[in-house]
Structure formats: structure tokens, C-alpha cells
């Protein structure tokens, strides 16, 4: 609580510092050329010197304070009655924290109430100490910044360097997060592979994590049916829909459509790409799946399932069309006009030109687009959750219900989880496989696109 207030106070102090420094700089300013930096920059320089060191102190203190508080509470006589095992003790501590913040809250463990008071006292004490430290840092920073306000001081250079640092930090953020994700995936997947052999996982054909107990654990974590379901739905059925339709729409839009038609159709296609996947999901589950089931019945299938690979794959294909279309559109548009002119000038018709010159020339770009589309399709979750089913089945029958990697990850990580059971941990192994596959697809696709661009530059 105190620390939140301190944070606001630091920002307020920064604001005050900004005005103070700018005011002082204005007094020194005596016309054009009299100072290296304009007063605003001195303001920003001062504000940065107040806020940045204080923020660092604040972050550091927020990180170490809970440990200090816990230490004090544990040393308190009231804590002597706490049970020794860590899990139970942590639960009581958590309740005590709630009580310390709000005395009216309910608590299951009576011990929580006894330690709530020392906990509150320790929190307040350390909060105040932290506030004092942060305040000193802020004032020291501010004072240092203020003394540097001189006509020849290059405040602008310093501020611009700080902004540069900020921009760099922003761009690193996504990368660092990715590293974090990879690290956690690797760690948890490693835990999983301690229990289950990677070979059994990657080559086994039986998937029923619920039955996995005791010695036959390897036999129940064969992920091949999931990989098959993912590939069948995302890379086969969806692409059978998306590639021809996307390609044809791109050919129409770039080669045949009049300017007016293109102006209408292209944005509509792009809107299609903006529909939330969950909406596609219930379209698949509620509209397409029953039609497919009835169709299966008319084909004479016994008990066709409502959830089917076909329903999920078809809708996913439709979802991917704008993606394929816009990649193919870019690839076709990147072929120089001189190519088609050359062909037309030889007496080739427009369609001959498209088939024999434009498409071959644009092929690498189109292939790359398709690979990106596949990597999107196999990572797609909502549609398969709603329409593909949960049955891990190795089947080529499109009317059968099937499951995918993403669906199983959702299954394992929703509801109650135990992070020491291979069942939950299998989600991370699956995630790791998915991550590697999509990463490889993306890298290849980007390389192809890059090479293709070079060819025409």
C-alpha cells in the first residue's frame, strides 16, 4: 500500500522537477544561441534524474521487502505455532496477508489471525523504510540533475540518449519475453521428459494421459494422434480450402478486378481476417459441424460424430483465405510489370501470361505465404476446441472427430492442475513441439521471401 503511494509520489516529484528545472533554465536563457539545450530539455533531464533512479530503487525494494517482512514475522513468538511444512505454512501466510490488508476478511486457519498483527506491523515498518530510501534516492537524483542546469550543459543529448535507451528496451521486451517463454517451455518439458521417454512421446500412437499411472506411463503419452490431427486439420483440410481460394482471389484482385471492385473486395477480405477466431469457432461448431454430420449420414455412415475434422478444417481454411490471398497478392504485385509486358508483347494472352510468367515468378512468395498460413493454422486453437472434438484418433476419415496439439494443451491447463503430474506437464512438451514446428516454418518462409525480394531488386 505504502509503496503504491510512493510510486505516485515519485512521479509527482518528477513533474515538479520538470517545472522547476525548466523554470530555472528559462531564467538562464537569454536569446537564441545562449544555451546549448532548450529549457524543455532541461526539464526532461531533471525529471529523468528524479524518476529513473527512484524507480530502480522502488523495484528493488518491492522485490526484497516480502522476504524481510516474512523473516520478521517468522521470528515473532506468534509464529511459533505455525506448522512446519512449507505448503501449509505458505497458505497461512497468504491468508494472513489478506487479513493484514483487510481485518474483516475470512480466514480458515486460526493461526492466520494470530500472525496478522505482527505481519501488518512489519509491513508498515518496512514500507516506511522503503519510502524513505526511495525518497532519498529521488531527491538525490533531483538535486544532482538541478545542479547540472547550466547554459553549456548538453541536456538535449542526454535526454535523447535516454529516449534511445527506452526505445531499445521496448524492442528488447518482446524478444526477452520470447526467451522467457522458451525457457519455461524447455524447463517444464524437461520435467515431463523425466517421466516420459521422448521417443515414446514422439512415436507412440496411444494418447490417454488420464490413464497414465504406474509403469505403463510411456504407453499413454504417444502424441502421434495429436500431431496427425493437427496436420490433418490445419495443414491438409484447411489448406485444400485456403490455397486454391486464396490464390484465385489474389489472381482476380491483382489481374482482373477493376479498380472499383478491388477497392471494395480487398478491404472486405481484410475484415474477414479480423474476425475473432472464437466467432469462427462457434460458426464451425453450430453451423458447419451439423451440416457435415448430416452429410455424413446421407453418405451412409453409422453414427457420424457432430464434431469432425472436416468441420474444423473447412472453417479454418476459410479463416486462412484472406491470409493466403494477401500474401499471394503481395507476391504477384512484386513481379515487375516488365515481365507481363514482355509476355503480352509476344502475343501471349492475359491468362497465358498469368499462368506461365506471373505465377512461376511469384511462386516463392506464394509458397512462403502458404507456409506462414500453415504455421498459423496448426497453432489455431478456438476452432478445434469447439469443432474438432477430443478423441485422439489416427484416422483419415474427415468425418471422424479428432484432436489437435492445441486442443490438448487447453485440456491439460484448464481447471485443476498439478504441476508435478506428467499429465499437466505434457502440455509443455506439446507446446514445445508446436513452437519448434511453427518456428521452423516461419524461418524458412521468411528466408524464401527475402531471397525472392532480392531477385527483383
Amino acid at each position: 500500500m505504502i509503496l503504491t503511494g510512493v510510486l505516485l509520489a515519485v512521479i509527482g516529484l518528477g513533474l515538479v522537477g520538470w517545472f522547476a528545472a525548466r523554470g530555472r533554465a528559462r531564467l538562464l536563457y537569454s536569446g537564441r544561441g545562449s544555451m546549448h539545450s532548450m529549457p524543455n530539455y532541461h526539464g526532461w533531464h531533471m525529471a529523468l534524474w528524479i524518476i529513473v533512479p527512484a524507480l530502480i530503487a522502488w523495484t528493488a525494494w518491492s522485490a526484497i521487502m516480502p522476504g524481510l517482512v516474512d523473516g520478521v514475522v517468522m521470528a515473532d513468538p506468534a509464529a511459533a505455532s505455525l506448522p512446519a511444512d512449507a505448503m501449509h505454512r505458505n497458505a497461512i501466510m497468504a491468508e494472513a496477508r489478506t487479513l493484514a490488508a483487510n481485518p474483516d476478511a475470512a480466514a480458515f486457519n486460526p493461526e492466520a489471525r494470530t500472525i496478522a498483527e505482527p505481519l501488518r506491523a512489519a509491513t508498515t515498518r518496512y514500507g516506511l523504510i522503503g519510502a524513505l530510501i526511495i525518497g532519498i534516492v529521488a531527491f538525490a537524483g533531483g538535486a544532482f540533475g538541478f545542479t547540472r542546469i547550466r547554459p553549456d550543459f548538453r541536456a538535449r543529448t542526454h535526454v535523447e540518449r535516454a529516449v534511445l535507451g527506452l526505445l531499445l528496451l521496448a524492442s528488447l521486451m518482446a524478444i526477452l519475453t520470447t526467451f522467457g517463454i522458451v525457457a519455461s517451455l524447455l524447463f517444464e518439458a524437461g520435467m515431463f521428459f523425466k517421466d516420459v521417454s521422448p521417443i515414446a512421446f514422439l512415436t507412440g500412437t496411444h494418447w490417454s494421459p488420464g490413464n497414465a499411472i504406474g509403469t505403463d506411463i510411456d504407453d499413454n503419452f504417444g502424441a502421434v494422434p495429436l500431431f496427425w490431427g493437427t496436420i490433418y486439420i490445419g495443414a491438409i483440410i484447411a489448406m485444400v480450402v485456403a490455397i486454391p481460394l486464396g490464390l484465385m482471389s489474389a489472381i482476380f484482385l491483382t489481374q482482373y478486378a477493376s479498380h472499383r471492385v478491388r477497392r471494395w473486395v480487398k478491404p472486405i477480405l481484410e475484415i474477414l481476417a479480423g474476425i475473432p477466431t472464437v466467432v469462427y469457432g462457434y460458426f464451425a461448431a453450430l453451423t458447419v459441424a451439423p451440416i457435415i454430420r448430416d452429410f455424413g449420414a446421407t453418405l451412409g455412415m453409422a453414427n457420424p460424430s457432430t464434431e469432425s475434422a472436416l468441420a474444423a478444417g473447412l472453417v479454418m481454411g476459410v479463416m486462412i483465405i484472406p491470409f493466403v490471398s494477401s500474401m499471394a497478392d503481395d507476391a504477384l504485385a512484386a513481379v515487375p510489370r516488365a515481365m507481363s509486358d514482355g509476355s503480352l508483347a509476344l502475343g501471349a494472352t492475359k491468362s497465358e501470361t498469368i499462368k506461365k510468367v506471373l505465377l512461376p515468378a511469384a511462386l516463392p512468395g506464394i509458397v512462403a505465404g502458404v507456409m506462414l498460413a500453415i504455421s498459423r493454422a496448426i497453432g489455431e486453437t478456438m476452432i478445434v476446441v469447439m469443432a474438432a472434438g477430443a478423441a485422439a484418433r489416427l484416422s483419415a476419415n474427415p468425418f471422424a472427430s479428432m484432436t489437435t496439439v492445441t486442443y490438448q494443451i487447453v485440456q491439460m491447463l484448464t481447471g485443476d492442475q498439478e504441476f508435478n503430474s506428467p499429465k499437466t506437464l505434457s502440455a509443455f512438451a506439446l507446446g514445445l513441439v508446436l513452437f519448434i514446428v511453427t518456428l521452423v516454418l516461419n524461418i524458412i518462409a521468411l528466408r524464401v521471401v527475402k531471397k525472392f525480394r532480392e531477385a527483383y531488386d
Partner: protein
Amino acid sequence: MNETKLTARNVDVFYGPKKAIDNVSIDIDNGIVTAFIGPSGCGKSTFLRSLNRMNDTIADARVTGEILLDGEDIYAASMDPVALRARVGMVFQKPNPFPKTIYENIAYGPRIHGLAENKADMDAVVESALTKAGLWEEVKDRLTDAGTALSGGQQQRLCIARAIAVSPEVILMDEPCSALDPIATAKIEELIDELKENYAIVIVTHSMQQAARVSQRTAFFHLGNLVEYGETSDIFTNPREEKTKDYITGRYG
């Protein structure tokens, strides 16, 4: 002496509302090289592109007046622009070989028009076109290399060979040497000189020296008008019009 191959009568070309060519009438003869010269934006390329209806590919371009190929109106409804372009070939400013092999670049046109019955026929067509374009000796051992792997001058001769391969009657060249170095340019000019025996050749050029070197007739365009048209030697030594004289003596352009 030479019969007239192409005749333009009162031709206007519009890009949208803008008139790019104004009332041009000209006769282009077989067996000689006709050069179109003039400052940038004078409409010489536009006029050239209207001779094989390449302007059709530009959405708001419009041609009025009459252009006759062997007495036949090329803008008549009965004229198929695709068939016309097989008779009136074109070579562009920048070499634009297809991203295919050298062989396939040449075979492309004949295949579309069904000019070869079998592989042996096609080989003969390819060899003959490359030979006429003076490229055969240089590429005969690497016909399966990419056309884009050749040097700029070779690429342009490949494009000329590609145009020749469909046996056109007229070859239009739109500044064919502007992207080439002097040595490659000299080779192309030599080639044009040889080719004129069998085709009517029209060349648009920025270089007056080139027009003087390769052409027998020269047309001078200015601001969409055909200012003067006549024997190349007359145009360069004894122009009738003041504007032509100013241009060829380098007073503007």
C-alpha cells in the same frame, strides 16, 4: 522502293483526359529502321506502344484515329490484339527476360503460338532466333542457365531473340540501349542493322547519335506532335523545321 508496312492517320492518344499524342500521321516502311527522337515526355514511347496496342494494358489509355498494318486497321473490332502482338513484336527499355532458362525464354512465344511441332522443331527455332540475335555462340553451351544470369547486353539480345522467335513482321524497340554500356550498345546497333533486311524496325531513342547511326528515317516528336519526318540524313543535316534544328543542335532536350 520499300513498301509501306504501317500507316498511322490522325492518331490521338489520351491518358484519361490528358492528350499525349496529337494528330500524328506517319508511314513506316518495310526493310528499314525508323527512329523516333524527341525530348523526354514528347510522346514517342506512347506512340510506339500504340502501334502494337500495348497501350491497351493501361487502364485509362485511349487511341483514336487509324493505324493500319498492311492496310488492315489494327484497332478494328475484328483485330485480335493478341494476334497483332505476335506480328508486331516489342523490345523494352530495360531487358526483361523471364525468370526461366535461356532456352525457355526463347521457346515461350513459339510454344504459345504453336510454331513448333516437336522438340527438334523447337530446338531449331531456338537456335535460329539466338543466331539471328547474335547470341548463339555465347550461350549455346548453357541454354539451361537462367536468362537473368546473363549480362545486361546479353539479356537485351535475348529479349530481341525472344521477339524474333515468333516471326514478327515489325519489331518495335523502346530505347533498347538505355540501360546498356557502350560496348553492349554497339552490339545491339550492329544487330539492328542486320535485322532490318527482314523486318520493319521502329526504334525510340534518346541518343541522336544512335538515331543517326542506325536509322534510315527519323521522326522528331515534340509535345505530342510529330514535328518532322524524313530521311535521317536530311533531318540531321538539313532540318526543315526550326524546332528540329534546335533539338538536334542540342539547344534543348
